[in-house]
């Protein structure tokens, strides 16, 4: 019986592979992110932004190889598991896809970038390119950088640079409390906060700097008590998902009414959960801006997004850059099969984005340099989040943020 | 003379405030067939559980062949050559009859916790198990699951498992409980058969069985041994009559 099942399994798998492998003349991008499970919203939203940008910015204008080719997004559900991601990467490669996009979770990105590097080392004639649209662990473009990885989001350090600009400009802030999840990204945020604050406002005292177990804290009240007790004038946190909601609600519930600077304190139900209480308190640092739309094209683009995807939010603007930038690189090479040439074409590319302004893919570490904004939760914003009647409005805008930042990356090029 | 097979010295057991066994002294010689009788609730099963290590005594001692085994665990006592059966059938219901017997053999045949022997290949074990199956008359049910056997067959199997390991002291707890007369006769024959040259301690309500089988009888009443002697003496004892036969035996006979 087990043999029979195994056979059925393999037959099914093979049929599946054969079915999709009947390739069309489309250039396919594998989108490997969580589409089920607790982080499915993140993945679903990202996929929607990709699909929208592929349609509006590449396919409909005929911007790819003079309209001879089109992009197609092929979603793969990685269930936010590293193992599952590697399997999906394998499936995608078997289907002939050589362009991989992923972003949710730096842990997965780390696994993927290593797997891609390994694959390319073992198969130098058939490389794969990895477009990272939102995993922001700085290590990916520093110690762990590699030629085939490109990051389109501003990394944690760059975001912190912009964030601390905002803090530095606010003389009311004298004490800051830094709190984050206990893993690589949380630690990176904490380290960056310390570094930049010391540099920009040595007078600011960091009254708390702590990490809490990721996804394990049921009740953030004790943390909130510590924060209020410390007399902090602002909180900085890299928390996301349930940890962001829990922390935010607890801190505000404990009577804290000063700014809470976040990396991921909006959309995916978070804005709705904070509601009125978070207005004017919750700040978000991110690449590009949504409110107000930075350009007329962006206005149109985002409006169209909300028409096409009324249940979703336009959350991470920089994701809309991936498809057009990739298209530009492919146009430069003239075909979509020479992945190595495409990677070289992406290196150092300059691009005028409708959402992130002047945008550069830095050659030295494959980190995108773009506009980074600090946004505040505001009622009545034009593009709202979670249908809550409020959205994130840009307050501080830093163009070409951290353009001159250092990197420890030693890029080895093939 | 060598030490008695089982010796109990001033054995006591209390559960909370209730003193169930209050100072039992008993000696059972090697090769003796010894029966314990007494009214319900006299503490017979508790006495068994104390001897076999199921309960630890509150005070006093248990000796096997002169060796102190007080407070040892059941498996440690079993390894010293004592094996018991249970009043409520206690077999391995999801294993075959053959395997039930085999489980009883493994330790004493030296296989212990072995994971380097293939059990199916150990012909000595198989042969011996088959022999015991024949002895308890269950060869034909060899591959049935023990849980599916008839009650009497399960009782026989219970005895088979108990004697399989070749222990020289056998304790049987009401082996004939709930059996018809013909079945009882078979079991008694079986018991006589398998306990040849062994020390037997048996609890039984069926007086016919007791007087038929036992060399000596102890009468346990309220946790005390009031008489311990040959069947004839016990039968004649006024004490026993008063405390036990007078009231309970008639009741039992119904």
């Amino acid at each position: 019986m087990n043999k029979f099942n195994l056979m059925m399994a393999s037959a099914l798998a093979a049929g599946l592979v054969a079915g999709v492998a009947a390739a069309q003349e489309k250039i396919r991008i594998a989108f490997i992110d969580p589409l089920s499970g607790p982080f499915a919203t993140t993945g679903t939203q990202g996929l929607a932004i990709y699909r929208h940008s592929v349609k509006e910015l590449v396919n409909e204008p005929g911007a790819l190889l003079n309209g001879q080719a089109e992009f197609e997004m092929v979603p793969f559900d990685n269930k936010i598991s590293a193992k599952e991601s590697l399997i999906q990467l394998q499936v995608a490669m078997d289907q002939g896809i050589r362009i991989i996009a992923q972003g949710a979770s730096s842990g997965v990105a780390n696994a993927l970038t290593e797997a891609v590097a390994k694959h390319n080392r073992r198969n130098p004639d058939d490389p794969v390119i990895f477009l990272n649209h939102s995993a922001v662990d700085p290590a990916l473009t520093n110690d762990k950088c590699q030629f085939w990885h490109f990051r389109f989001d501003a990394n944690a350090d760059i975001k912190m640079d912009a964030l601390t600009d905002d803090i530095a400009a606010n003389p009311d802030i004298k004490k800051v409390y830094v709190i984050g999840q206990d893993y690589s990204f949380g630690k990176a945020v904490a380290a960056a906060a310390q570094r930049f604050l010391k540099e920009k406002r040595p007078d600011i005292e960091i009254v708390g700097n702590e990490l809490h177990p990721i996804g394990k804290v049921k009740d953030f009240t004790p943390y909130a008590r510590k924060i209020v007790g410390s007399g902090a004038d602002a909180v900085i946190t890299g928390n996301w998902g349930g940890d962001m909601v829990g922390l935010g609600k607890a801190v505000m519930g404990a009577g804290f009414d000063k700014p809470i600077y976040t990396y991921y304190g909006a959309t995916s139900g978070i804005t709705a959960a904070f509601g009125e209480e978070g207005d004017g308190i919750v700040k978000l640092v991110g690449a590009g801006q949504v409110n107000p739309a930075p350009t007329p094209e962006a206005q149109e683009f985002i409006e169209a997004f909300y028409v096409n995807f009324p249940d979703l939010d336009f959350g991470q603007p920089q994701m809309a850059n991936v498809a057009p930038m990739l298209a530009a690189a492919i146009n430069e090479v003239g075909n979509a099969t020479d992945i190595k040439a495409i990677a070289y074409a992406l290196e150092g590319m300059e691009y005028d984005s409708i959402v992130t302004g002047k945008t550069v893919m830095r050659e030295s570490d494959h980190q995108t340099i773009q506009t980074v904004t600090v946004q505040g939760q505001t009622p009545g914003a034009a593009f709202e989040y979670d249908k809550s009647g409020r959205g994130m409005v840009a307050e501080t805008v830093v163009e070409l943020a951290s353009n001159d930042s250092a990197t420890t990356c030693e890029m080895k090029r093939p | 003379m060598s030490a008695p097979a089982i010796e109990l010295k001033n054995l006591e057991k209390s559960f909370g405030l209730a003193k169930i066994i209050q100072g039992v002294d008993l000696q059972i010689a090697k090769g003796e067939r010894h029966a314990v009788i007494g009214p319900n609730g006299a503490g017979k099963s508790t006495l068994f559980n104390l001897i076999t290590g199921r309960f630890a005594p509150t005070s006093g001692g248990v000796f096997l062949h002169g060796e102190d085994v007080t407070g040892l665990k059941p498996f440690e006592i079993n390894r010293r050559g004592l094996s018991r059966s249970f009043q409520i059938t206690n077999i391995f219901p999801n294993m075959t009859v053959f395997e039930n017997i085999r489980c009883g053999l493994l330790w004493t045949m030296g296989y212990r916790y072995s994971f380097w022997h293939m059990i199916g290949r150990q012909l000595d074990v198989t042969e011996k198990a088959e022999g015991i199956l024949a002895q308890i008359n269950l060869s034909s049910r060899r591959n049935e699951l023990a849980g599916t056997l008839a009650y009497a067959e399960q009782r026989a199997l219970e005895i088979g498992i108990t004697i399989a390991g070749g222990a020289d002291i056998i304790l049987l707890d009401e082996p004939c409980a709930g059996m018809s007369h013909s079945e009882t006769d078979l079991i008694v024959d079986l018991i006589r058969n398998v306990t040849e040259d062994k020390t037997l301690l048996i609890v039984e309500h069926d007086m016919g069985v007791i007087f038929d089988l036992a060399d000596k009888i102890s009468v346990l009443v309220y946790g005390e041994v009031i008489e311990s002697d040959t069947p004839d003496v016990v039968r004649a004892s006024a004490k026993v009559k008063e405390a036990y036969l007078g009231a309970s035996l008639e009741e039992e006979a119904v």
Partner: protein
Amino acid sequence: MALFLVNVLDGFVTGLLLFMLCSGLTLIFSMMGVLNFAHASFYMLGAYFAYQISLVTGFWSGLLIAPLIVGIIGALIERYGLRRVHKYGHVPELIFTFGLALLIEEAVQFFWGKSQLPFSEPAALDFAAFAIAGNAFPAYKVFMIAVAMGIFLTLLYILTKTRIGMTIQAALSYPETVQNLGHNVPLVFMCVFGVGTAMAGLAGVIAGPVLGVFPGMALQLGSIVFVTIVIGGLGSLWGALVASLIIGWLQTFATAYDVTAEQILTAIGFTKPEMIWDHPLQDLWTLTLPQLGPILPYLLMIIVLVLRPQGLMGNRES
């Protein structure tokens, strides 16, 4: 000192919340011998139903209706699911409730999606009841304490003063006496399961606005509830209360005080290695008490089980 007081109160709230879950679980376990792995899932269902109801009629009716629906669902699951599995034995029962937990989580995602839902406390309780040294204590938490205490007292009253309660209590200590409940044991089981799950549902309604309503909320609390009743002693209501409060305070105080391993290690005479980031023991040196907070209950459970398998106040073994 003020902060200490605040933490005592917060830990008390956490503990009581935990107790609301544990009391239902204990009730079910004592009467039916079933360790309901899906108990926290009913808690989650309570929160989701209350959210849905609150969209239409507001928080207060949700508080009443949601636990009722959860209880009915629980009773139905007992009648048509658990009872069927019961005859296979305890392990399949445990596995059934484990599967139920998975299924409920998936079902919740099917209906409500995967995001956190905006379920907030009622406006009437959305103010700070009092403040201790700048730390606001929300009125809602006072309400939580009141409800939890109310439940505890009601339960205590029913168990000690009413006939059915006495029988239940007897059954808690001596499972065999469940038979004394009369001939309709299945009906009693169904009701017990319904009431137990309804209590979990009520806990969900109350905890929803504070701890958030999202598909992972059951998983987050699921194993902790188990740990609590195991520590307290399976089948002991008082044990459940004591263990809940211990864990509530343990977790609150562990997060509240930043004791670090570095302080302890330096205090007992070790010196911190200079190249800490390259040191094999770096994690030991950087360990803090808040980091350890979430694993303390598990540690406590293992210690209790090894030293006293029947739990702190349990009077029977598994």
